[in-house]
Symmetry: C2
């Protein structure tokens, strides 16, 4: 893991870009003598790690006392995409512009989000290995954000002790089938009026998660309308589980 | 309003029993120089004000900095019941012991919870008038607990600025019809596996509330399993709205 730049924020948080082989990432660490518990933070649908909403959430969470890391995993963010992925995305744009029926749009999402999760998960695990070797980063580990990837990581990665999922992204069948095997405490965020994500699908998924301790927070408003206090609620959720 | 007893708790909260005409009540006030914002707290289905879970919640909320009040309104708690109410309750016990179908149980609930809300709401308003004359109690006012009564009060009582509803009680048709007229910020608590309260009915009701700012917190577990952190979340919700 090589740090390629660093920035000290006003609140003392250290924000560093890093690269780990082909994986580019960002790590935020609070001013602290002791190692800080780590939260892996990913944007839904593999959106770039530099997206302003993700960065704002990461900075706030670091200021609260967590180390926070995000990456552009294989096939995500600014990383190269396969020709098949590019084709699927172009098809998605055409379908949405043409007002295609929901099940057709669903199939297009299925064709590239499923494989994207498959490829992304190992990069996150590789990153986790490297992060936990840093003296300023400790365990246990939390996960926050992209639900489809989070389901996979919660199932395959025993170091993840709690997860907060934002329900506003597409969850492919493979991950829906895995939901029952998620056993860590969960906080699921649902935007009640999210235009592109059927509410019932999220409620069914919440019901299916195998963990005994799960909480759903639903707020009125569309996809981008999550109220800021949910970031604070998320910090408090992790505070209960990352001890 | 006459105070009939007082108790100083270890954290400095003053817990006083009062009577206001025929209405018996309890008021908790924190140690504070300034008037404290008031939260009216009611147990679902008109259960007694002395119930230990209500008292624990009230004490915690007072320690957080709110004045908290509860009463046994007409037809509720230890107050006298009409012969019709007694008959309905006896019928309910028989029906539940006999494993009667859900819609039959629903009709029995309808026959006494609806009238109970009708009678209780004016007593809460009378109490609110008296509480707001005390120098240690200020506005704005929050409401917490019994959803059916809370819907009525939120609609008829403009002094209520925010409400937290526990969804685990029966909500009669009259209140379901009123839900669209509730315009204050809401926090609705749902126990996902509540045995006696169909989840879908609560989700439909949450959807129907007319307020623009509403949040649903759902947790796994049965009727009595609400996690303690929801009391803290409730305090923080009121902290955002009772300024």
């Amino acid at each position: 893991m090589h740090f390629t730049s660093e920035l000290r924020l006003d609140d003392g948080t250290l924000e560093r870009e890093f690269s780990l082989g082909e994986i580019p990432g960002t790590l935020w660490t609070p001013e602290s003598e002791a190692p800080s518990p780590l939260i892996l933070m990913a944007h839904n649908n593999g959106l770039p790690k530099a997206a302003s909403r993700l960065v704002a959430r990461a900075r706030h969470t670091a200021a609260y006392g967590y180390a926070v890391a995000t990456i552009d995993a294989a096939g995500c963010g600014d990383r190269p995409r396969t020709a098949a992925d590019e084709e699927a995305r172009a098809g998605l744009r055409r379908a949405m512009q043409a007002g295609a029926p929901a099940d057709e749009v669903t199939e297009i999402f299925e064709s590239f989000i499923g494989p994207m999760v498959e490829k992304a998960a190992p990069d996150w695990q590789t990153t986790l290995d490297a992060l936990l070797e840093l003296p300023e980063v400790g365990g246990p580990v939390g996960y926050s954000g992209w639900m489809a990837l989070g389901i996979r990581l919660a199932v395959v990665e025993p170091r993840i002790a709690a997860a907060g999922f934002f329900a506003g992204g597409f969850v492919p069948r493979t991950q829906r089938d895995e939901a029952g095997r998620v056993g860590v405490p969960l906080l699921v965020l649902l935007q009640w009026d999210d235009e592109g994500n059927p509410r019932q699908r999220v409620l069914d998924l919440f019901d299916a998660f195998g963990t005994e301790e799960k909480t759903l927070h639903a707020n009125t408003g569309g996809h981008l309308g999550t109220p800021w206090f949910e970031v604070e609620d998320g910090n408090r959720f992790f505070g209960r589980h990352l001890k």
